[in-house]
Every structure is written in structure tokens, then in C-alpha cells.
Amino acid sequence: MKKKRIYDGEILKVRNSRKLYIPFYLMIIFLIIFLSYIKFSNRPISDISFKLVLAFIILVIIVTEIHRLGNFYEVNDKSIIHTNGYFWTISKRIEFGAISDIDILQGPWQRMMKFGNIVLFKFSEGPILKNINRPKDFVDYLQTKMRGFRARGPGR
């Protein structure tokens, strides 16, 4: 997320970061390299093995993309909306006025890959926005939006 001027009425839409799935993408890359090694070392690759690898690659791509589609975050001038689910979805709106504090949680892998979870406090621990890309930039954006909201007043 690049630092840029934030305009009123601007809506930011965010999904889970794909960096979350890097271990699975590494599995795909490993299988492709291993297949190439078998091929170039003139060892036999059975049709079933090749098809299994292909099926695994397709499965990983589909599963990760579907998983990513399950969570959707929207930041507008007044609130954050978290939409969760596939066929039946739940949308939770968190008004900026209700947010008392924001924490960023990052494990070692998340720090390395620059993504993490953001906890929104509503005077106690509240909803968690999971696996957001560049969480510090996201929180800065959120705080700018919240400042704008508070300056305008809740009714406007």
C-alpha cells in the first residue's frame, strides 16, 4: 500500500494477502523442480504421477483462491465492513466511533513477509482483520480516515 493522499469518499477494499499462501506456492514450485529433475535425469515419470502432480497444483491454486475469497474488508469514511463467507455471507460494520484502539499482531513469518493481523479494540478486544498486507500502512490509512471522521463529527 503506497502512501498517498486520501480523499473523502474514497473506499479501500482489501482481501487476505496472498503472502499467506507462500508455503503452498513453494510446494508447487518444489514439485515442478523435482519433476524437471526426474525428467532430465532420464528417469521414468508415470502418467499417473504426472497427473497427480498436476491435480495437486490445480487443487492448491483453487483452494487458496477460494480461501482468499472468504474474507473481504472495506474501509469507507465512516466504518470498516468485514464480509465473511462464500454462499451465505455475514457483513459486520464497525463504526469508527466505536474503535478505541488498534493493535498489529505479527508472527515471525508474517514480519518477514510484511503482512499481519490487525485487532480493533472497542474498549475491549474486538474483531480481528486477518492477514492484511502491509498492516502498518493499513493502520495509518485507517487512522487518517478515523481522524477525518472525528473532525467531521459522527452525524455527517
Binding site: M27, I45, S46, L52, L59
Partner: protein
């Protein structure tokens, strides 16, 4: 369980990461096993299926004059060939005047006429004049040949006017053909062919030799 006696159900949540990692290990293990330790592992399954198929067929041994053309698309356990001229294995050209080839685990197309053998497919092992080449090999031949033997080949249909002897059901029935109709469906077994010699030895679902017609179902 809480003090008030409420039962807290432990929900077993499926971890997709765990499932995907398990599948990854499974695929990797299968790949390593079938490529490094037991390349015939998969064939051992198909081999059993083939045996069952043969059990239901009519036994046939036929020594006939060769048909003009045979087209086969099948997996063949072993091919023995004596061919004339250059040929390609895995993109590499072998410039030999004549060569004896043994091909293991061939899968692809075979086209045999009275002079030319056209062969396109893959094999796991090829012996060229006794020297082995292993791997997942692409083989391409378009050569004159002296002799061809295919072990455990499947032929869906072969029909021509033939001369020679056909022995059915372990020599219970012997038919002498002289330019008579010969037709065979769903044959699996061995095939030998040279310029003036053609031999089939295996089982078939349906055989017509002259006036004789035998189907696998008639056996029971």
C-alpha cells in the same frame, strides 16, 4: 464442563493447511517411489486387470500369411525388432545399417505393413544391440523391418482374407484357411510378424475363421 453443568462440545475443525500438506507429502512420496524405486508399480495394477480380461477370452494360436496392414494403439510389455536403417530415440538419431532393438513398456502407436514399421510412442527401457538406454524415452521409427514380436499387445480389431492354420480353445478346434475370412476382436496376447510370417498367440473376445465363429460368452 462448566460449574452449571453445561456441556462444551469440542469441535474438530478441519485444517486445510494440514490436508494440503498431507496431500503434498502423498504426491511427493508417490512420485519418488514410482520414479526411483519401483517404475513398474503402476503396471502391476494394469497387469492384473489384463489377466482378468484374458481369462474371459477364447484362446487362439494362428499361423497365417501376413495381413497387408495392422494398426495398433496399445501398451506393449516388450517389443523385439530387427529393423533396417536409422532411427530416433529421445530425439537422438542412431545411424545403423540394421539393428536389433528390445523395447520395454512401450505405449503408443504401431503401424505395420508388409515392409515398413512405423512406431511412435514412449518406453521406459530400450536395448539397442544389447546396450540399454533407460528413462522416459520417446521413440520414433519409420523403417523397413525383418522381424517384429510384440509381447502382450492389445488389438481391437483385425480382419482380412487369410491363408493358414487357426487353432482355437487350446487346439480343440483347428481351422485351415485358404483365402478365407479371418476376423478377430479384442485380442490380447503375443504377435510375431516377418515379411512372410504372421503368428498370433493369446486370447480374444470374438473370432471368426472361415465358417467358424466363436465368442467368449459361448465358452461358459
Amino acid at each position: 464442563m462448566s460449574d452449571k453443568g453445561a456441556v462444551v462440545k469440542s469441535r474438530r475443525k478441519i485444517s486445510f493447511s494440514g490436508v494440503l500438506f498431507f496431500l503434498f507429502v502423498l504426491v511427493l512420496f508417490f512420485l519418488i517411489y514410482t520414479s526411483f524405486f519401483n517404475p513398474d508399480f503402476i503396471q502391476s495394477f494394469t497387469g492384473n486387470a489384463i489377466k482378468e480380461e484374458i481369462f474371459l477370452g477364447v484362446p487362439i494360436q494362428a499361423d497365417l500369411d501376413p495381413p497387408e496392414n495392422i494398426m495398433i494403439n496399445s501398451r506393449v510389455d516388450k517389443l523385439n525388432l530387427k529393423i533396417i536403417g536409422a532411427f530416433l530415440i529421445d530425439g537422438k538419431k542412431y545411424e545403423l545399417i540394421s539393428a536389433s532393438l528390445v523395447i520395454d513398456n512401450f505405449d503408443g502407436d504401431i503401424n505395420l505393413d508388409n515392409k515398413i514399421l512405423i512406431l511412435n510412442g514412449k518406453a521406459t527401457k530400450i536395448f539397442v544391440e544389447g546396450i540399454p538406454i533407460t528413462g522416459n524415452l520417446k521413440i520414433s521409427l519409420n523403417n523397413k523391418y525383418e522381424y517384429v514380436k510384440l509381447n502382450n499387445v492389445y488389438i481391437s480389431d483385425l480382419s482380412y482374407d487369410a491363408s493358414g492354420i487357426v487353432r482355437l480353445e487350446n487346439e480343440k478346434v483347428t481351422v485351415n484357411l485358404e483365402e478365407d475370412k479371418f476376423n478377430i476382436n479384442n485380442f490380447r496376447g503375443n504377435l510375431e510378424k516377418s515379411n512372410n510370417y504372421f503368428r498370433l498367440d493369446g486370447m480374444a473376445e470374438e473370432i471368426s475363421a472361415g465358417m467358424i465363429n466363436v465368442k467368449a460368452n459361448n465358452e461358459n
